[in-house]
Subunit: 207 residues, 2 copies
Amino acid sequence: MARELTVIQRKILDYIIDRIKIYNLPPTLAEIAGYFGYNNRATVQQHLSAIERKGYIHRNPKLSRGIVLTFEDKFFVPKPVLGEVAAGNPLTIYPDAIDTVALPTVAKTPRDSFLLKVKGESLKDAYIFTGDIIIVNPNIEAVNGKFVVAVLDDAAVVKRFYRERSSIELHSENPEYEPIVIDKNYPNFKIVGVVVGIYRSMEKMVG
Amino acid sequence: MARELTVIQRKILDYIIDRIKIYNLPPTLAEIAGYFGYNNRATVQQHLSAIERKGYIHRNPKLSRGIVLTFEDKFFVPKPVLGEVAAGNPLTIYPDAIDTVALPTVAKTPRDSFLLKVKGESLKDAYIFTGDIIIVNPNIEAVNGKFVVAVLDDAAVVKRFYRERSSIELHSENPEYEPIVIDKNYPNFKIVGVVVGIYRSMEKMVG
DNA sequence: AAATTTACCATACATATGTATGGTATTTTA
DNA sequence: TAAAATACCATACATATGTATGGTAAATTT
C-alpha cells in the first residue's frame, strides 16, 4: 500500500473513512475543510492529492463526493494493526492460539464496530469457521455467554466470555480445547470487543 | 410503508437503489435525469417529492447526493415480494416447508444479489439457522452441491442443489427431512438464485 | 363534470463543488 | 546546504446542485 501518510493526512483519511462508514457517503472538500477548521478547500484538495498519490484513495475527477477508498476489499488493509485497538501490542501467533485474527485499520465499521477474519477451529461448534468474518463492537460490555475478542499477551482470540468470582474464563465451544482462565490481575489481558455478527462467503464453497 | 408508487416512480426508486448498492453513492438529480432522458432536473425533483411523500426515501435538504432509503433496515421491506422474482407467485407456506423466506423489494442488493431471511430448521446441519440472512445471486448458475433458493408451487425453499439425469433433487442437510425430487417437466418450479453468503446477527444471542 | 394527480417542459437562482494558480513558512529529505 | 515535501493561506472559475416557480397535456379520482 504505497507510502506512509503524515499525521494530518492520516487524520483526514480517518475522517473520510468514518464518514463513509457512518453515513455511507464520502464527504465533500468543503465538509472536510469545515471539520478541520480550514479556511478554504484548496488545503483539503492538496492533502487529498497527497493521500491519493500514496495510494489510499481514488478521486473521480469532477464528481461530487467522488472519493473512493482503495483498500483491498473496502474493509481490510493488508497489515494487522491490533496495536491501535489493544494499546500497542502487535498481533502475533499465541502459542496455544487456535483463533487468530487480522484486524482492519478501519477501526469503526458500520457504526462503531470493526471486522475480523476468523482463523482456527475452536469455534466450529458455535458454527463459526475459518474464513468467516466476525463483526466486533468495542463499546458493548461483555456479558456471560457472549462471544468476545480478547487479547492475551500477544495473541488475539475469539471465545465465549464467562466472569467468575476472581477470574475471567474464555471458553472454546470445541471441547477439545480447555478453557483459558485469566486471573483478575493478569497484566496483558484486554477485552477488545463483543461479537455482534458474523458473515460467511459461500462463493467458493461447494459440498 | 405508505402508499403505492406509480410505474415511473418505481423505476426511479429502483435506479436510486441500484446506484446506492453498486456505487455506494446516491445519484444527483442531474444523474437521474440523464439516465431517464429528462431535459431538466425539475421533473426528477417532482418525482422525488412524490416518492418521499409516499415514504420510500428521505431527502436531506440542500445536501448533494442527500437521498436516503427509508427501508426498515436498509435491506428489507415488511412485505414479502417473491412475486417480483418468481413470476407472480405470492409467498405462502409450502405444505412441507421447513424453510420459508421474506424477500426484499430491493431485488439486487450488493451487486446483483438480494437478501432472504431464513426460517426453519432444515439447514441447521449446514450451520444456517432461523434468523440468518442469506445473500442470493439470481445470475449465477446452480452447481451441484451449492445452496440454492427455489420456488416450488407457492413456497420458497433453501436447499442444496443436485442435478440428476432426468430430475433435480433438493437436499436438506438435516437427514430428518427427505430430499425433494423434481421432475424436469414439473411446471411450477424455478431456481431463484444461488446462495453466495450468509449473515447472522448475534446482538440478542446469548448461550 | 370538476378537481386532483401524474408526467413532462422551461427558466431562473443562490450556493455547493471540484479544480487551478500563486503565495508563505516550516519541516524533512537528499 | 539546497531541494523537496508539508501545511496552511487567498482568490478565481466553470459547472454542478438542489430548489422554486410557472406552464401544458393526459390520466385518474372525487
